[in-house]
Amino acid sequence: MTTGLRIFSLRTASLLLLVFLWWVGATLIHDPEILPGPLAVARDIAGILTSPGPEGESAWFDIGITLARIVVAFFAAMLAGIGLGLAMGLNRGFDRWMQAIIPALLTLPTILMVFLAVMWFGFSEGGGLVAVVVLVTPYVAVNIAEGARAMDKSLIDMAATFKAGRGLRLRRIYLPQLLPYIFSAFRYAFGMTWKIVALAETFGLKFGIGYMFSFWFNQFDMGRVLAWIILFVVLMLILEHGVFARLEASVFRWRAPAAAGRV
């Protein structure tokens, strides 16, 4: 626990240093329209959270709608990616066929795809979803396919010699070997998803954190833009470290040998 504590205090110190540098910069520039200081932005954050937004909605409504968009798009892309990846990893012919398409999708610039989705779907919810699925699914599929190909043949043979049935093999051998790949795809896909959703909200969708970026940007209110950016970053960090990291640690307990067991 002492190392955990040390890492925590180190991170706090580096964050404080960043805020200090920001304060120094803001003081030197001395123009709140270019770079407002940390205190002014903190006041803006408080204002955002306590008073109604430009459409009369609460800030929590914008945060909630962004979260909902992220979660829906994320699971859609994960499901599509895992299905596609398994098919690629287990079926050679299909894999060759996809090898022609996947690289093309991987090179598609994110912002271009968001523009395309907005042009096709206008201001409806489908645009963000389609952009995420098209952009994120190939990354997930490539990862899962790699996991399916990297399965340990010697364990599959072991299961065969003991005559383990299909369901038992799936549950005890295939799935546990895929989990690390699913998790790394999870993290990457999540990071991509929130960036794409924020972008889609900025350019095409109504409500949400990205919509707030563009609204206050158009008002030339640098303080509020920065305030929303900070809210957004904090929210994503909480999800990343509070949810994913904990889930991962509990699933991969077996990886950290407890010295007590060694004789």
Partner: protein, 273 residues
């Protein structure tokens, strides 16, 4: 029937026990790339293991020993010949239960020791109410009582191999296949495990087919030894190890037989140039 079983368990294996593994004229080829003649891994090999017998196959690396075990275990195909597996006499278990101990433990590292053993119990459809008893009994047998809830990566290599042995024995096999199970361990751990294996065999008595390149190990453990040469892979000699048990690695007769067999290996190698 129960009385038969009691006799089989207590008395040393009779001169010609009923065969549990019968391999006759087995031939296995691997196709060569580019339309060349296929590579013959095993050529017309015949091996017999009787109930309760410990039979070793000794030969240089790459002579097809592991392939033979894989064919018997049913995870590799063969081209001609017959492989017949029967249950222990008086047990009536059909098809016979086959367990395999590999060179490396091949444990599922994401499962506890208990779950690793339960994996094969479930695979073999052994009733769930027997699991707890079978797991603790066989962990005790290999000296790992109390490690049920530990994860394999917390154990040393020798302990992991013990778990693999407990896993194999837990299904109460008719046939136990062992592929150089001690070759990846340090000399001291390997020696300890060999001694333990001899003690365990006195109790469980499955028919054991043991593959090794270590002659001393084969002499110490076996009732019969098949000696294999390579290119072509075939058995050139069959030896009955007529040394009373319990045996010790220090036993003069074990040394003497090992030296004698080693000489034979070299003479076979020399005639081939």
């Amino acid at each position: 029937m129960p009385s038969d079983q009691a006799i089989v368990r207590d008395v040393r294996a009779p001169a010609t026990p009923a065969a549990v593994i019968t391999v006759e004229k087995l031939t296995k080829r691997f196709p060569s790339p580019g339309g060349l003649a296929p590579f013959v891994v095993i050529e017309e090999m015949s091996v017999k293991v009787g109930d309760g017998e410990f039979v070793s196959i000794v030969g240089p690396s790459g002579c097809g020993k592991s392939t033979l075990l894989n064919v018997i275990a049913g995870i590799e195909t063969y081209d001609s010949g017959t492989v017949t597996l029967s249950p222990k006499p008086g047990r009536g278990q059909t098809p016979p239960r086959v367990a395999y101990v590999f060179q490396t433990p091949r444990l599922l590292n994401w499962l506890t020791v208990r779950q690793n053993i339960e994996f094969v119990l479930e695979a073999q459809n052994i009733p769930r109410e027997r699991w707890t008893g079978l797991v603790s009994e066989h962990l005790r047998l290999v000296g790992l009582a109390g490690q049920e809830d530990n994860y394999p990566l917390n154990l040393s290599g020798g302990m992991q191999q013990r778990v693999a042995i407990a896993r194999a024995l837990a299904i109460e096999p008719d046939i136990l296949l062992m592929d150089e199970p001690f070759s990846h361990l340090d000399a001291i751990t390997a020696r300890k495990l060999r001694a333990d294996l001899m003690a365990i065999m006195n109790r469980a008595r499955p028919a054991i087919l043991f593959v090794t390149h270590d002659l001393a190990e084969a002499v110490l453990l076996s009732d019969h030894i098949y000696m294999m040469e390579t290119k072509p892979a075939r058995i050139f000699k069959q030896v009955v190890v007529d040394i009373a048990r319990p045996r010790s690695p220090e036993d003069e007769r074990v040394f003497a037989l090992e030296r004698e067999l080693m000489r034979e290996f070299f003479s076979v190698l020399e005639t081939k140039g």
